[in-house]
Symmetry: C2
Subunit: 404 residues, 2 copies
């Protein structure tokens, strides 16, 4: 398995484009993205579990009911959520995109991200679609990645190559996610493309299971978005035989998917609103998988831990505290905690009690760009990893006046 | 029912004191408090549900097993949690206090608040106890209130007077709580005294039920402390006949308790770490009481809503979003939202969709010291209130380096 360039266009038969159509006032910020497969693609998706859902989600659900799609249209700057005519606008976006591409409306998936509760005018999208289609290319992944960004400070894309059935396959993605990001629900916007040949029910299974250990384990701020969607299109152009359930090829495909999604999780957490460092929590010794996940998520979601990490303060008591309220059962006397980073590792708590440690050494470890909290929570065999970020002044600034 | 002065010493037969004993480095900050009843008091308590619990909680539980107590000793500056000798130290604090007062160790409740995981040296407490006992007085409530403060910026005390059985009764309290405050568990440290005559099982029932609608509905930062405790002592010195279950007197007692606890909830939320304004959420129209409470808590816990309130930004979409993930069931089309304060009220969302409103008028309403979010979430009859605060730069500063 090797990392390659090309992002969402790395896989055979995918083209993309992104431009500024006018939803955003800032003309230098692209706000409309399009990803197209040259041939029909088996398609799967996981959506937010928020009871308030953006109109695009309802439309995309309908259009993916047959397990196939040809394209994704996505705007930033407006979530098209809580609007009276939201579904009509989302359906129009698909209709217009279909017309411009010579495809049926039902072949198009649609997504929107941005402010909730402001009507989305379809006019700038309609006006821009001819140009957007004209600029579709295999080099368009970067533009598409830029166009779906909101408060993201970095473009997020990734791609890799692997072999199935003797054929070279590729998988690539673009992602956006910085605030309103929380585990246990499909999070953010993630569009994945692959030229592997995999039937949509199996693709759906692979994606759903992967999310449990990837996007559902990321939190920036504990708020679950109304518009989150992870979508994967597989167009079979690599020429491999269809992947069968429980096969070696299926395991290879899932491993590639996990490598890609974990990378995006880390990028999203690292770019969390206002974040100055990526925070990873590794939990081991749990009695069950769900306890391991709960524990890891409680740690990365704690505002007190997040601010301590911002201040590079080795306040391990807050880790014990978060484990204590995050878990239904915990024997504090069996908890060990250490902090680690590129600068090394320091043990701070053993069997629920503090160890003597050098504050200076701890500071050295905690001031790195990536910091990991390691918590052994008992004698069990289950483990889990969650990703988050520190909580900084900048998060408050960004969200204190988001709409203006 | 009328508000009176005197705080935790307003009720007959209670004295208090507070001083600096040396747990904290800052000599101007009191760090040891004592509250004493002249006669044995029926006593009830509600504790944190965190699985990691401070050593004082284990000791206090044992000492209150018989439903009575005479005194509470409490230090700030160190939580005495996750320490090898923690229970021994907490027991010693009771023993020393009992000795100084001429009481049994089992008559003393103990509480600690501050940093987790640093051994608590009992020496400064032992040295200070003679002075502490000597300064006990009916005027000592303020000193005690100061001595239990941590990051609190204001002393929190309250007292009121009411009639039971033709006799004047009084109830007073001191409280501390500013960070690591979250609902659904006993939160903060609250010591309540009353001279009403009420048997401890009924007192326990009244306190437990009250907490559901008071302290369990407050959140500053979503982190549940390891050391939270709400304790009430009733010494019967008002001379009323013992309150009976389901009586008019019981209802009067509960109403007084509610008035006192809600006041403290508001004070704690208003003084949340870094808070610039008190945030109240009133939910109506819920199908069940638990749904109403869940909804109100989801709103006040949302980092995105808290930062929007800090920025006085009428971003009601985030309210819909929080309701959507906070509730198991929600029909967004039946949700109405308004913001209100001393400056008036402004409706921003009707039937799940945005209303046209003046941003200027919204700003006027949202820049007040107290802001209320009103959410009608359906056609049900249940309602609930929760209290929180905005999320500011100051919260990050306070918690970025708490230990040093």
């Amino acid at each position: 398995m090797k990392i390659i360039s090309g992002g969402v266009c790395a896989a055979k038969g995918f083209r993309a484009a992104g431009l500024h159509c006018g939803i955003r006032r800032n003309k230098s910020k692209k706000d409309l993205a399009l990803i197209v497969s040259d041939v029909p693609a088996q398609t799967a998706a996981v959506y937010t579990t928020n009871k308030v859902q953006g109109a695009p989600i309802a439309v995309t659900r309908r259009h993916l009911a047959d397990g196939t799609a040809r394209a994704v249209i996505c705007n930033s700057g407006n979530a098209n959520t809580c609007n009276a005519d939201g579904e009509h606008v989302a359906a129009q976006m698909c209709q217009l995109t279909g017309n411009a591409l010579g495809l049926k409306s039902g072949d198009i998936a649609v997504a929107s991200t941005g402010v909730i509760g402001q009507p989305l005018d379809v006019t700038p999208i309609a006006n821009a679609l001819p140009d957007l289609v004209k600029t579709l290319s295999q080099q368009g992944g970067e533009d598409a990645a830029e166009a779906i960004m909101t408060t993201d400070t970095t473009r997020k894309e990734y791609a890799l190559e692997f072999k199935l059935d003797g054929k070279i396959c590729r998988m690539g993605a673009i992602a956006k996610g910085s605030g309103m990001v929380h585990p246990n629900m499909a999070t953010m916007l993630i569009f994945i493309t692959t030229d592997a040949n995999i039937p949509s029910p199996l693709l759906q299974k692979a994606l759903r299971e992967d999310c449990e250990e990837s996007f559902h384990m990321v939190s920036v701020d504990g708020d679950t978005s109304t518009n989150d969607m992870v979508l994967i299109m597989a167009n079979a152009m690599a020429g491999n035989a269809p992947i069968a359930a429980d096969s070696e090829d299926y395991r290879t495909f899932c491993a590639a998917l996990r490598k890609l999604t974990v990378n995006l999780c880390r990028e999203i957490a690292r770019d969390g609103e206002g974040a100055s460092r990526l925070l990873t929590c590794n939990v081991t010794g749990a009695a069950s998988l769900s306890a391991a996940r709960q524990a890891a998520k409680a740690v990365i979601c704690s505002s007190l831990i997040k601010t301590a990490i911002f201040g590079a303060d080795a306040n391990w008591g807050r880790v014990l505290c978060a484990l204590g309220y995050g878990l239904a059962e915990l024997d504090p006397d069996r908890v060990d905690v250490s902090f680690s980073s590129a600068a090394g590792e320091i043990a701070v708590c053993k069997n629920g009690q503090g160890l003597a440690f050098s504050e200076e050494r701890a500071k050295e470890i905690l001031t790195q760009d990536e910091v990991t909290i390691n918590a052994k929570i008992g004698g069990g065999t289950h483990c889990a990893t969650a990703w988050g970020c520190d909580l900084s002044y900048e998060y408050v600034r960004i969200n204190g006046d988001y709409r203006t």
